[in-house]
Each structure stands twice: as C-alpha cells, then as structure tokens.
Symmetry: C2
Subunit: 429 residues, 2 copies
Amino acid sequence: MSLVFLLALIHAVTSKHQSVGDPFVDPRSPCSQHGMFEDDVCRCDNCYVGATCETKSETCVVDASSGSPFFTDDYWISEVRNGNKDSTVTIAPYYHIGYGAFVGAGNCGGFAPVSGGCRNDLETEIRALHDAVGNFKHNGYTLVMGVGSTELIAASIYSLLDSSQNATVFSEEPYYNGHSGVAEFFGRNWAQSAEEAEANARTYGRNSTLEFVTSPSNPTGAMRTKQVASGTAVFDSAYFWPHFTPITADRKLSDHDVALFTLSKITGHASSRIGWAFVKNADMAARLSGYVGASGGLVRESQLRATTILASERRRGYPVLTFASERMASRWSALESVLGSSACYSLQPRGGRATDMWSGKTYAPSPAYAWIRCVSGNDCYQTMLSAGVRGRAGPKFGANKDHVRLELLMGEPDFQSMLDLLRKLQSKC
Amino acid sequence: MSLVFLLALIHAVTSKHQSVGDPFVDPRSPCSQHGMFEDDVCRCDNCYVGATCETKSETCVVDASSGSPFFTDDYWISEVRNGNKDSTVTIAPYYHIGYGAFVGAGNCGGFAPVSGGCRNDLETEIRALHDAVGNFKHNGYTLVMGVGSTELIAASIYSLLDSSQNATVFSEEPYYNGHSGVAEFFGRNWAQSAEEAEANARTYGRNSTLEFVTSPSNPTGAMRTKQVASGTAVFDSAYFWPHFTPITADRKLSDHDVALFTLSKITGHASSRIGWAFVKNADMAARLSGYVGASGGLVRESQLRATTILASERRRGYPVLTFASERMASRWSALESVLGSSACYSLQPRGGRATDMWSGKTYAPSPAYAWIRCVSGNDCYQTMLSAGVRGRAGPKFGANKDHVRLELLMGEPDFQSMLDLLRKLQSKC
C-alpha cells in the first residue's frame, strides 16, 4: 500500500467520521474522484491509473464493450450521502446458516418457486415493481428466479428445447451475442433465418425451436415481435423499462412463451445476479427451475440485498427510475449533438416519442447501446478502437463489420471521456 | 403481525440498544429461545410453532432429511455476542454496481479464474484455509468457483463428459443422491457397478466415464478410493475436514482428476452457495468455468461475505473448526450412548482414531450423518418417521429399505429433540 494511498484513505476515513462497518459517505474520495473505493482498493475510471487513480493515462482507451451498468453509480452514492440508510444491508455472521435462498421464506426452503402461504419477499418486490411500471401483468404467471437472466437464457436453451439433433435457436439479426453464445455452448443449431426456424418448428414441433425476442433489441433498441409463430418464444425484456423506452403497454405473451427480466439493467446491481422469468405453463416453469436447482440454486445474500433495495425504492416511488431516465435522455442528447448529423458515422434511429405510463412523460426511446454504422463501409470496430473507444464488433451480433456497438451504460466520467473521443473523431470526418 | 410478537420484538430491540443496521446480539431472543429471528420473522426450531415460537407442537416431527448445517448457529451467535464485528458485512447500495464477482479483483472482471496480477481475495482465503488444515496441496492447481459445489457437480457431469450416448456416471454405493440426481437431470447413464464403469471407460475413453469418489462418504462417512482407474474421478471432498474426520494426509489426485469442496460444510453458510474445484488440467478447468459462466456466473455479495468470514477466522486460527469438532464429537458420543449397543438399530462403524494434522489431537471420525440399519429388515425410513424423525430413505442412496440416513448437522435444539425421540424408540426395542 503506497503512502499517498494510505494518506488519502486516512483522510477519507477521519474526515467523514467513518466507523467500522459504515459505508463511506463518498466512496470516490479515496480515489481522487477518479475511481470507486471498494474491497480496500480503488477501481479507477477509464483513463486514470495509480493506487489512488491520481494519474491521467496517456494511452487512454475507453471500454464501451460490455453492458456493465455503472450509470447508476452516482444515484446510489447520493442515496448514502443523503442519509438514506434503508438500502444498506448489514449481514451478521449468524444470518441464515443452512440452505434456503428465499428471503422471508421461513421454513419453506427449497429451490423451487415458493407457494402455499410461504413468504418470498424478493418475489413480492419484483411483482410490485412490475405493477408500478406497468410493463408486465404477472397475474397467473409463475416467477422463476435465476443467477441473472443469463442463467434463465441457459435454462431455456437447455431445458425448454428437446434433446434431439433438430433442436434449434433463432433470434432476429442483429441479435444479442449472449443468446448465440449459450446456444453454441449447449451445441444447439442456430437458424439463419426466421423462415428456417419456422420450418423446423413445423416439422419437429414447438419444443424443437426456441426464439429469443429481444425487445427492445440489444444492440439496436428497436421493439421486436415474434417471428417464429410455431416455436417457443423467450421475450428477453432486459431493456423494457422506462429509462430505455417509454412503456405504452404491457408485454403480452402467448401461453407457451416466457418473459425474462434482470435487476442489472434496472438498478445497476449486475453482480448480484438477480434475473427472473415469468412463465404461465407449469411444466415449463418446472423445467426452468429444475435447471437452476441442478446448477446450484440461488444465493441468499444477493436476494436479501435486492429485496432491501427494491423495498426502499418502492416506498419512495422508485426514484432510481427517474434518475436513470434523465441520465439516459441526457446521454442521447449529447451523443446526437456529436454524431447526429455526421456524414461518416450513422446512429440507429431512436424511435418516435410516446407517453410512458409510469411517469406520464412523453419522450423518445434512449437505448442502452449506440449501434453505429461506418458510412465508409470500413471495419467500424477498428475505426472506433483507433479513436480510443473499444466497442463490440458488428459480426458478434450477426451483422457486418461496418457496424459496431458502443455501450451507453458506463459511469458518467467514462461516458464523458468517450464523448470527447467521439467528438475528436467526428472533427476529422 | 401479532401483538405478542410485536411486544417480544420491541423488548428485544430496546433491551439490546439495537440501532438500525446492527445485528441482534441475541437473534433467538425475539423467538422465545426456540427459533432464529431473520427477515422480520421467526424461523422456529423443529417442534415449536407460533409467531414467536412460543408453543411446543403436539405432533412433533424432527426433520433430519437434509444436510442443512445449522450446527454452527451457536458459534456465529457467540461471535456477535462476544463483540467480534469483523465477520459482519455492511454493504452500501453503491457497492460494486456492474459485473464482476471476484472480491478485490479491481478491473480484472469476468467469470473465468482471475490471473495475471489481479487480486481474488476469496481464492486467497480458500487457499490459506487449505494450507492451515493440510487437506489439499493446491500448488499447480487452478481453482474454479461455483454456485455451491452443486454447480460444479453439474458442470462436471455436463462438461467433463463427452456428449455421446455412452457417457456414464458412477459412484460407489451407497452413493450421494445429489450425484445421481444431477446425472439423471442431464440424461447420463448411471453405471450399476465399478466393473461396468471401467469397461465403459476402456471402450470409449476417459471422457466417457465420470466417477464421484465421495470421501468421506455421504452417507456413511467412510473413506473412499477411486474404483474406475480408466475414467475421470471427481473427489467430492465436502466432508474432508477435521470436524468430520481427522486429517492425516492431504488428498492426492491423478493429473486428470478433480477435487470439490464447499463452504457449507465448513462454516455452515450453505445458502451463500460457495463451492470450488481444484483442477490441474487447463482444458478441464476451462470446461468447468465455461459451464459456470454460461449459467450466469458468480455472485458478488456472497463472495464478499465468505471472504470476510474466512479472513476473520484465519486471523484467529480458525476457531470455527474447533467449535465444529467439539460439537460433532459430542453428538456422536450422545448418539452412541443411545443406539451404540442397540439390538434393533445398527449404526455404521465410525472408523479408528487417528491424529489430525491441524489440531494435533487424536480422535475417531464423527461423520455428518448417521447411517442406520433396522436389524429387523423393516423399512427403516418408515420406522424412524413413525418415531417422529424424518430421515432420507436408503434407496435414495442405492441401498435397501432397511437403511436410513439421519443428518447430524441440525441446530442443537433439533439434535436434542431427535435424541429424545431416538431414546424413546430404543426403549421399546
């Protein structure tokens, strides 16, 4: 531990009257305001290095390749600064020795969805959130929790499809590479077109063909519809929240379809790995939770934290959604002011303005990703990387090299750094 | 919430000067000392009911059917009562927004084992624990973390075996039903004998045949050796700790074998779902972590808690192991005083005394389960259930109905209740 780091830490601790177990009032203070202090180390913003993030890097590359939702960092810091303690969890070492992941479940235990009078506090909070936002009417649906929606993607691909050689997965291009990657992991076929998938489903039955309807789309943000009428559809609804698109109606499913959601793209708590599926068909729910159970089940601590945070938000009308909506809107304004009329770099269309049911406000979608086409037809990933912005290349989504995806979910300092780099790039257009 | 419950809670809170976020000094106090208070509800001991566990049940059945390690409850309560705060975790809402499960990993992120100078604090603590106990020499082994060792059992069965129709799993009888259950979930063959498994491995190659060597055995506690020389062996080492058996030598593996461990049977934190595999072969490690990644990866909060608890234990010489050893030894003394010379109910042999390397003490094994044979040849599960003790029936482990497994890992009040019921049963022998 360097001396400068130690001094910064001592300053941060003493100046805020930090006591053991209390969170830092300003976790960026020990890191020169250019990083977050956690686990006794500074996690620096892009372009800053050093033990206390004190040095600006000369060879700066902004990482816009993932979807890590640091954009809510500032909101949660302000919660602590404003003295709201009820979204902080303290876990004694004796807390819930033994099995059983569901908070409030008492002796009900087990991996399967809790029913029959047992409490599942996280499920209650999740359903309340959907009630408030209006994006899914969950009455009559079983909720199956997973280790992030990623596990429910895996569970769908493994357990909703039959085990024949004809088992096929499809998603409209450009598709989320998390769907194609897991399909490949489980050795499933990947259909090249909706027609091919539909033909497969008609020949081999509904359980032979699974379609991921990612709506809003990752990477484009466009709303999608089911393309394979005879197959099973999993509506990946990770981005179907007011900060990404105005919610004008609830998501409607056929009786054998599934809707997936994830906490990570709502509150930002991605490493808590809280995802859920709504399923009407009892056999399909059992298959999904069978996979989750066989793969080790669910984790108690993250569910306790998610429950605590969602309950705190519910009591105050979900201010995190207001924060996230304003932040995404301002990012799109800034991005369009730089690239909106560029002759070299074409942003995807955002979609029209509409009135969101939750906020009552009228606005255009502000997708989680910029899906950029290099008008030159050049390799757009390389073009951006040369400019200091690492995106995710078009071919990963089944698109051409002239496309690249840039995430817009990073922390605010990283977003501003990226914007500066894009401005420089555009100035040479 | 009933009035009596509210009053008990107010008493508990005010009498201990409870403040927001602090753990209860005595979490059994709001529950009439017959249960644990968590998530605003009492989880009652077996045989007690009511909102504050205030009523003894007339129709009492003790649940000895799982392996939920409540036997460490009292240790962790005493930690808090003794004022040791460094095994309590406080998690601010801004803690680690975004992906990345590994505590201390900084920007290293990802699901795969962290290397190349990145810190992984939990891995460091796990390796230190093995160094102290001496049960596994981990130099040269990759550590792959999973959602409990259960996920690594699933990962082994899915990803270490090839996908042919000949893929076969074997474990010596009586075997742990967690192994056979997951093999069935993934549609693998289950070999009926070591000879059958060995023949399969010789015909179709090492990747066709997976053996679980559960040592000490669940359910018997006996030490096991590899039976299928030509296959891949996964040594399920959940019970290879000083409180279950004196550790006289480290576990040795062939280069293509795997060792599994789990936090649940060490500290009792089962719902944290912290399991790990040691693997020498790089391709096998990649396959295991590939399954974990595809299934949603790992959870940050539970790893933070596990790291905190193991570090606190390490600094004081792992007193939880001393507590657990004394408790298991006293339970076996008590059990043998009731059933040790029974003409009706035969306990498994415990194995001989040996000197444990960690404690330097000499003692006989104290297995996690009693594996009981009803000498009459009757259905032993039903016999026990009629006496008020719900075990797990012999056939689940591939044994006959004359056997039943009773767990010895429950909370102390439940263990004493079970002992009373067994004493009554034996008195009628």
